[in-house]
Symmetry: C2
Subunit: 403 residues, 2 copies
C-alpha cells in the first residue's frame, strides 16, 4: 500500500483510445491497493492550437490572459480522463491547479511553485478516490491562474509527490527510460536502471531531453523518488534517486547539445579584474555563460573564449560591443557551428582516466577539441557541430561497447 | 457615469472578427465614462463539441466532470475577448466564475446561484478596468465547478447586475428586441419599446425564445433593469422593467409553443379529491401540468384533460397507467399534434374584450379551440399544431394591424 504520483504527458492522452490506455495503467496501480494521484498535460496539440487562436487576435496578449487561456487545456484532459476512469467503474475526481492549492508566484507563463496546500487531495484520497490533477498550472496570491512554463507538468507531479510525501513519482513518457546516449544517434545505447539526481540534472541540461531540470531539482531538494517509464509498455523504467548503488559503470551517459555558440574576445589588456568585467556585464543582461577558456595572447594581451546558448548570441554580442571601451578588447569573434558533447557519471571525479578515455576516442576519430570543461560529475568538450553525432557514437562505443 | 453589465451570447463571439465587433461595443460603452462588466458564453459550437468529446469516452459521465469540462468553453472566450480589448488599447481583466465568487448549490449541470461575492469585480472596476466574466459557471461550497444549465449566461449577467447594483443589464443577442410575434411567422411583427417582467416571463415561457425565464425571474426579484438588443446593430432594443408606462397596446405579444402534448383521462368516477389524486402522482414524478380542463362525462363520470411538455408525455402516461386503479379511470387518450397560442399583456385582466377579440380572430379563420386557459396577463388556447402559424398571424393582425 503505497502513495504513488503518476504523470502522463500530452501525447499519452491525445485521444479517446490513449485516454483509456492511461486509465488502464492508473486503475491497475489502484487495484494493487495503492493510493494514486495522477498529473496530466493538455492533449496532443491543444496548447499549440490555443496559442494560435490567441495569436489571431493579439500577438502581444498579456501573459496573464495567455495563462487564463492555456490552463483550459489541462482542465479538459482531467475531466475526460476522469470520465474514462468512471467508465471503467472506479471512484475518481478531477481537480484543477487552484483546487489542489498549487500556490505560485506571479510570473505568468513561467511561475514558480511557492507551496502546495494538499488538504483537498488528502481528503479525496481518504475517500479512496483516484485523484486526477491538472498539471502546468497554479494560482498566485491574487487568485489569478498562472502556468509553470516548459516541463511544468513534471514539476507539478514532483511538487505534489513532495507535499504528499509520496513513495514514488512516476513520469510516463514516450521513451521507456534514461539511456546512455540518444538512441536515435547511437543504436547500442543502453537503458540505465538507476541514475542520481545530480547525474540526471547534468544529462537533462546537456540535452538528453527526458526530464526537465526544474522537476529534477525539486525532486533532489525534497528527496522524491522518481521513475521515468513508458506509457505504452510495461517495461521497468529508470529510477532517479539520491544515492544509486555502486556500479561498474562510472559513466552514465553521453549527451549532446547543439544549442551552443562560442564567443571569443581577442586582445584584452591583461589587467586584474578583466574577466570579472566581461562576465558581470553579461550577467546584468541575464545571459548565462557556460564553458570559459582564458589564454595568453600576443604582446602581453589575453584572449577569453566562452559559450552561450545560441538564442543569446546576438544579445551577448550587442552588450559586449556596447561595453567595448570599458572592457578594453581588440576584436570579437563568434560562431554557432559548435556543439557540446559531454559524459556524465558520479564516480568520475576519482577516476582521472575517464576524461583521458574520452579524449582518446575523439583523437582516434580525428575530431578536434576546441574547449574543455570539467566538473565533479561530467566532462564536456566543445567541437564542430558537423562532428557531433560521430563524437557521441565513438565516445559511447569506447565506454560501453565491451561492458 | 453608470455601471453597466453587458452579456454576449455564443454566436456573438464565435470567431476573431466577431470578438473584435463585441470588443468595439464594449469599449464604446467604456469610452462614454461607464464602468463595464461583460458576461460571455462559450464560442459558437464549443459546448456541443465538448459534449461530443465526452460522449466518445463515457455517455454516462458524472455531471460533476461534465461541468469541469464544459466550464472551459467560457474560460476560453473570456481570455480571447480580453486579448481583443487589450489590442484596442483598453485596461481589461478576465475572471472565471469562481474568481468572481459566483456561489451556487451543488446541482451540477443546473446549479442555482446562492450568492455573489462581488468584491473582486468591485476592486477591478475601481482600477478602471473593463471586467470580462465567464457566464454559465459557478462554484459550490466544496470549491467544485458547477454550471447553471440553459440560459445560464443570462442568469450570470442578471445576478452580477443585482450584486453590483448596476444601472442596466444589457442582453445582446441575434435579434434586436422583443417582438409582438415571431418575425419569422408574422412579417408585420413590431418591436416593443418596453415590456414588464411579468409579461416577459409569460412571453419567454410561451416560446418567444428571447430571454430565459430564470434570468427574468431574478431580474424581477432584484429589480434589475434589463435591455434586450442586437450585437450586430446599434438599434435601441427592448427594455424589461418593473413598471412600464401605460400604452395603448394592451396586448404585448402573441406567442406560440409547439412543445405541448394533451392527455385526456376519460370516465373518471366522480368522487371528491379525484383531481388531487391525478395531479399529485404526476407532481411526484416531477411532471409540470399546464392547462387543465374538467368536464362532465357520461353516466355520472368525469373527464379530465390537461397538457404537459412533449418530452414528459411518455413518462406521464406510464405514471398514470401505473396508478390506474388508485385513480379509477376508464381510458387514457393523448396527442402531441397540438400547439398553445397565447396573447400576453398586463392590462388584460381589466379588459374582458381582449379574450373575445382573440377568439373572434380564430373563429373567422375557422380554427377550432380545444382548451382555454387565462391568467391576469395572458390568454392561452390549445389548437391543432397544423393551424398554429396561421393562428399567430390572424391574432396578431387583429390586435396590431390598425394601430
Amino acid at each position: 500500500m503505497s502513495l504513488i504520483v503518476q504523470k502522463f504527458g500530452g501525447s499519452s492522452v491525445a485521444d479517446a483510445e490513449k485516454l483509456f490506455n492511461v486509465a488502464g495503467r492508473i486503475t491497475d496501480t489502484y487495484k494493487e491497493g495503492n493510493s494514486v494521484v495522477v498529473v496530466v498535460s493538455a492533449q496532443g496539440d491543444t496548447t499549440d492550437d490555443l496559442i494560435e487562436k490567441a495569436a489571431e487576435i493579439n500577438e502581444n496578449a498579456s501573459k496573464r490572459e495567455m495563462d487564463m487561456l492555456l490552463s483550459t487545456g489541462e482542465q479538459i484532459t482531467i475531466s475526460l480522463l476522469a470520465m474514462a476512469i468512471e467508465k471503467l467503474g472506479y471512484p475518481v475526481i478531477s481537480l484543477t491547479g487552484w483546487q489542489v492549492g498549487m500556490k505560485t508566484d506571479s510570473h505568468y507563463s513561467e511561475a514558480r511553485i511557492h507551496k502546495v496546500d494538499a488538504e483537498r487531495i488528502r481528503m479525496e484520497l481518504d475517500k479512496k478516490r483516484i485523484v486526477i490533477v491538472a498539471g502546468f498550472q497554479g494560482i498566485n496570491k491574487y487568485d489569478d491562474i498562472t502556468t509553470l512554463g516548459r516541463g511544468g507538468s513534471d514539476t507539478t507531479a514532483v511538487a505534489l509527490a513532495a507535499a504528499l510525501k509520496a513513495d514514488l513519482c512516476e513520469i510516463y513518457t514516450d521513451v521507456d527510460g534514461v539511456y546512455t546516449a540518444d538512441p536515435r544517434i547511437v543504436k547500442d545505447a543502453r537503458k540505465l536502471e538507476e541514475v542520481s539526481y545530480d547525474e540526471m540534472l547534468e544529462l537533462a541540461s546537456l540535452g538528453a531531453n527526458v526530464l526537465h531540470n526544474r522537476s529534477v531539482e525539486m525532486a533532489k531538494k525534497y528527496n522524491v523518488n522518481m521513475s521515468v517509464r513508458s506509457s505504452f509498455s510495461k517495461v521497468e523504467g529508470t529510477k532517479v534517486m539520491e544515492v544509486v548503488k555502486m556500479e561498474k559503470m562510472l559513466v552514465k551517459g553521453v549527451a549532446r547539445d547543439n544549442d551552443v555558440a562560442r564567443i571569443a574576445l581577442v586582445g584584452l589588456v591583461d589587467t586584474p579584474g578583466i574577466a570579472f568585467k566581461v562576465f558581470s556585464v553579461l550577467a546584468k543582461g541575464n545571459i548565462n555563460v557556460d564553458i570559459i577558456l582564458q589564454s595568453i595572447g600576443r604582446d602581453n594581451t589575453k584572449d577569453i573564449s566562452f559559450t552561450v546558448a545560441e538564442k543569446h548570441l546576438e544579445k551577448a554580442l550587442e552588450i559586449l560591443n556596447d561595453n567595448k571601451e570599458a572592457i578594453g578588447f581588440a576584436e570579437i569573434k563568434h560562431t554557432d557551428n559548435v556543439s557540446k558533447v559531454s559524459i556524465v557519471g558520479s564516480g568520475m571525479v576519482n577516476n582521472p582516466g575517464v576524461a583521458a578515455t574520452m579524449f582518446e576516442a575523439l583523437f582516434e576519430a580525428g575530431i578536434n577539441i576546441k574547449m574543455i570543461s570539467t566538473s565533479e560529475i561530467k566532462v564536456s568538450v566543445l567541437i564542430d557541430e558537423k562532428d557531433s553525432e560521430r563524437a557521441v557514437s565513438v565516445i559511447h562505443d569506447k565506454f560501453f561497447k565491451n561492458m
